[in-house]
Amino acid sequence: MSCEVLLIGLNHSTAPVSVREQITFPGNQDGEVAHRLLSVEGVGEAIIFSTCNRSEILSVAEDASATTPRLINAISLINAIKPESFMDHLYVKVGTDAVRHVFRVASSLDSMVVGEPQVLGQVKECYKRASAVNATGPILNRLMHKAFFTAKRVRSETGVALAAVSVAYVAVELAKKILGDLRDKSVLLVGAGEMAELAARHLAGQVEKQVTVVNRTFENACVLAKQLHGRAAVMEQIEECLVTADIAITSTGSCETLIKCAHLAKVMRRRRYRPIFLIDIAMPRDVEPEANDIDGVYLYNIDDLQSVAAENMGERRQEALRAENVVLEEVAKFMDWTRSLDSTPTIVAIRQKLETIRQSELARCNGKLADLTAGQREAVEMITRSIINKIAHDPIAFLKKTKSRPKRNLYLDVAQRLFDIRGPESDPDSGEEESVEK
C-alpha cells in the first residue's frame, strides 16, 4: 500500500469569510503547527497553507481515507472550532487531484482574481515554514518545487497573469469613462488587500493627487500609504474621505457591510452629487450592492470587473485553458515520479542497472576471455554475479527494512539518485532542488 498525497481545506469559493476567519491555524508562524500534524497517525509529511482566501492542509498519508477524519479532528482541535461548523465547506482531494490542486493554487488559477501574482509568494512562505521544522519530506519537497516550476511555466507560457492586470486596466478605463480626465481626481483605498493594491497602483499612475489609505489598523494603512506616496487615515474618517474621493477601492472583507446606502446618500449630498466610482473587491462585499442605484454612484465589484475584462479579451478563456494544460502536464510528470517511489521497482531497477553493467563489462572483455573453457567461463559469470549481489545486498536490504514512510521515501529517492536510475525525465529544473538534499 503506497502513500498518497492528501489535501484537505477550504477556500473563498467553498466557505464564507466567517468560516475562513476561524480556521487560520494560529501559532504556525514558525511552522510549529505543521510539525505537530506529523504526530497525527498516518501522516508522513505536512504543510499548512493559510492565506486570506484559503486554509488547507497538504499532507502525505499512509491511508488517505483513514487519515482524513483524523486530520479534520486535528483542524478542529488546533483552531478550537467544532468540526460540524466547517465540515460542509471542506474539500478533500487525494492523489492526482490533490497534486493538481496544489499546482493550480501556486499558478494562481484557483485565486479569487485569477492570475494575481501574490499567491505564489504566500505559498512559498507556507512551504518555507513547514520545511524549516522538517515537516516536509521527499514527496512534498518535490511536489512544492514542481508547483513553483509549474507556476513559473504558467506565468511565462500563458497570458493568465495578464488577466489580473487587465482587471486593473478595466478599472482605470471605467474610471475614465465615468470621471473623464483622471489627473485632478483622487483615489481612496479602504483596506489593503492584494488586488486593491494592484488596482490602486494602476490608478495612482493616472492621478496627480495623493492616494488616501484607510485601514482598521492604522499602522498597515501607513505602510501602504508610504508605498503609494499617499497619506493614511483612520477608519473613523471614512465619511470625510468618501466626500473628497472620486474613486474608492474597498477591500476590507469585514463581515458586516462597511458602506451602506443611507450612508452613501448622505455622502452624495455633501459631494453635491459629484459622481463617485466605487470598486468593491472585498468578499463579502464592503458596499451594499443597492448603492449602485443611487444617482451618481457607480459601484463595480470584482466579478463585474472580471466579466468586463473577459469580454475585452476573448482569448482569456483560451489562456486559462492553456494554463490548465500546463498544470496537467506537470501533474502527470509528478505522478510518474511518485509511482516510481515504491521500493519494489526501485530495487528491481538497481538490480537491472548492476546487471547491465556486469553484462557490458563482460562483453568488453570477451576477446581476452575467448580462451577460457566452458567451466572457467561459468566461474567468471558466477564471480561477477556474486560481486554485484554482494554490493547490492546491503542497500537493498536497507531499503526493504526501512519501515517509516517518510524516511523510506527519502532513501528511495536517494537510492535512485545514487544509482542514477531516475529515468529519462531527470529534472530540467534541478537547480530548484537544493532543499531536497537537505
Partner: protein, 282 residues
C-alpha cells in the same frame, strides 16, 4: 437653381447621417471620419446657401420659416463640428446630422420664395439680432439635449454594467455633463437676449414691448424652464442624469415654442398667413 447649395447641403447631411448610422451598426472605424467630412462639407455648402440667399434677398435671409429652419440647422451643425474638437464622438454626429437633415427637409416644405417687396418691418437690423440670438440659443439647447441623451444612454450602460463596444464610442459621463454645464448658462444668456431683443424690436415698431402673443408666452415659459434649470444646477448642485433629463425636457419646450407655436397657435411669428412671418397682427 435657386437652391443648388441648399440641396447639395441636404444631400451631404443625409450622407453623413447614413454613414454615421452605418458606423454604429458595423463599427467599421474607417467610416466615422468619412461621415465627419461629409457633415463638414454639408456645413460649408449650407453656409454658401445662406450667403446665396442673402444675395438674392438683398438682406439677411431670415424672414421665412424656410430660412429660419435652415439657419437653425446650420447653427446646430456648426456647434456640433466645433464640439468635435473637445468631444469627438461618432454617436454625437449620428444624432446631430439626422437632426439637421430633418430640420432642413422640414424647412423645405415651406415656400422658399422671397416675398417681394419685403415686409417693411422685416427690413430692420433688429431682424438679424433677434433671430440670430434666439436661434443660436436654441441650437445650444439642441446640443445640450443631444449631450443629455448620450449621458442617459452612457449612464445606463455603465450602471447596468454593459461595457461593450457601444459604451466605448460614447464620451465620458463627465465630458457629457460638461456640455450641460457650459451650455446651460450660455444658452440661457442667448435666450434672454433673444427675448429682450424681440421686445425692444416690438417696442420700436409697435410702441409696446410685450403683447402676450403665443410665441411670446411660450418663450417666457421656456425661459422660466431654463431659469429653473440654471437655479437647480448652480444652487442645488443638480448635475449628471437629472441635468440631462432636464435638458431633454427643455429642448422639447424649445422645439414646441420654435416650430409648434408658429404652426399651431399663430400670432405674429406664424409660419403661414397672408403676409407670412412677421405680419403685423394689428
Amino acid at each position: 437653381m435657386d437652391l443648388i447649395f441648399f440641396k447639395t447641403a441636404i444631400v451631404f447631411y443625409l450622407a453623413a447621417s447614413a454613414v454615421y448610422l452605418f458606423f454604429l451598426v458595423s463599427l467599421i472605424t474607417k467610416s466615422a471620419p468619412i461621415a465627419l467630412w461629409s457633415a463638414a462639407t454639408g456645413f460649408a455648402l449650407h453656409g454658401l446657401s445662406i450667403i446665396h440667399r442673402a444675395v438674392l434677398c438683398g438682406f439677411f435671409p431670415l424672414g421665412t420659416p424656410f430660412d429660419a429652419l435652415s439657419f437653425f440647422a446650420w447653427f446646430i451643425m456648426g456647434l456640433f463640428l466645433l464640439l468635435q474638437y473637445r468631444v469627438p464622438s461618432p454617436v454625437f454626429g449620428s444624432i446631430a446630422a439626422p437632426m439637421a437633415s430633418v430640420l432642413m427637409l422640414f424647412g423645405s416644405t415651406f415656400s422658399y420664395q422671397i416675398r417681394e417687396p419685403l415686409v417693411p418691418i422685416l427690413h430692420s437690423w433688429w431682424l438679424p439680432i433677434h433671430v440670430i440670438l434666439a436661434l443660436a440659443g436654441n441650437a445650444v439647447f439642441a446640443l445640450m439635449a443631444i449631450g443629455g441623451f448620450m449621458y442617459i444612454l452612457q449612464e445606463r450602460l455603465i450602471k447596468n454594467k454593459r461595457i461593450g463596444r457601444f459604451h466605448k464610442l460614447l464620451p465620458a459621463l463627465e465630458t457629457l455633463d460638461k456640455i450641460n454645464r457650459h451650455g446651460l448658462p450660455f444658452g440661457f444668456f442667448l435666450l434672454t437676449l433673444g427675448i429682450m431683443s424681440g421686445a425692444l424690436w416690438a417696442g420700436s415698431v409697435w410702441g409696446f414691448y410685450w403683447s402676450w402673443d403665443p410665441k411670446e408666452t411660450w418663450s417666457l415659459i421656456t425661459w422660466f424652464a431654463y431659469a429653473a434649470m440654471v437655479h437647480q444646477r448652480i444652487v442645488l448642485g443638480w448635475r449628471g442624469k437629472r441635468a440631462a433629463v432636464l435638458a431633454l425636457i427643455g429642448f422639447v419646450l424649445v422645439m414646441f415654442t420654435f416650430v409648434g407655436v408658429s404652426a399651431l397657435l399663430g400670432g405674429h411669428h406664424a409660419f403661414t398667413g397672408a403676409a407670412g412671418m412677421g405680419a403685423v397682427k394689428l
